[in-house]
Point group: C2
Chain length 145, copies 2
DNA sequence: CGGTATTTGTCCGTATGTATA
DNA sequence: GTATACATACGGACAAATACC
């Protein structure tokens, strides 16, 4: 299954395998992956390798892990749209730890940074917000749920 | 220095310490952090803990690691602005592995997904692109360098 | 050009703690 | 109460890239 001497790191191969299963729909959103000990056995690798692989998928925002196990992340509905009025500028980056806690962001979830002229930059959760261009001379920046 | 019994995980404390140094400017962009063995000694923790801490900062996009060591990430200039015309919608997420390679994205760098009516979604590097609202009835979507 | 030292990368094993079922 | 499963943390070993002399 996993070849440690193929040039590609084992944890990478394991992550690729699981990612493929998710993309193929074999692992549906909400469904639990195998447990870590089970993966050790199935893939023939050590615990650290399994955990590293899961780490990758977590940092890609594709799975979430609780004490019960690791499950495929449910798609988050975008509950808010931010209108990009004239002069508004938006960038994206990963949140700091503080921001993560403040906005209850899962791992692997980036944030939007929206800058309006003469105002402090606003940091918004990247998994629940979408940015949209304004229609006409919109006032710019209203957050509609 | 690091208290393993404070409730906060050691790797977390180490990451916080380094992050604070970066934010305070004690570690300037481009500058190398201590080597991993040096950190082991300074913080009094094992290598796994040190590496885990650096992992966090990498996934936050704050440091980059090469075989020479780990250095504070240089600020990336935004070389492209995408105009958000009417009907244009943008979201953000972490890139897949393929996208990462295709766009030469470092770790901890998210992507923009820009959707225009009747077109395929466009994936843009989150560290070099900014989204801006259009002034008047802009054509929407021109990428100016 | 070659060799050595440094530094990170990969991988394994073990142990303990803690939340959940 | 017991068993399961993940979280944290330590340690060691070897490989591979890089820098320096």
């Amino acid at each position: 299954m996993i070849d440690p001497h193929s040039g590609v790191p084992s944890y990478h191969q394991v992550a690729d395998r699981i990612r493929a299963q998710i993309d193929a729909g074999e692992l549906a959103p909400g469904e639990y992956l195998l447990t870590e000990p089970a993966m050790e056995h199935v893939f023939g690798v050590g615990r650290a390798t399994v955990r590293r692989a899961i780490d990758i998928l977590r940092n890609e925002g594709r799975v979430v892990t609780t004490r019960r196990g690791t499950q495929v992340r449910e798609r988050q509905p975008r509950v808010a749209e931010v209108v990009m009025g004239p002069g508004v500028r938006a960038t994206t980056r990963m949140p700091s730890d503080l921001e993560k806690r403040a906005m209850s962001l899962g791992p692997g979830v980036p944030v939007f940074v929206v800058e309006r002229p003469g105002q402090e930059p606003e940091v918004l959760p990247g998994d629940r917000v979408a940015l949209v261009g304004h229609d006409e001379q919109g006032e710019g920046g209203s957050t509609s749920s």
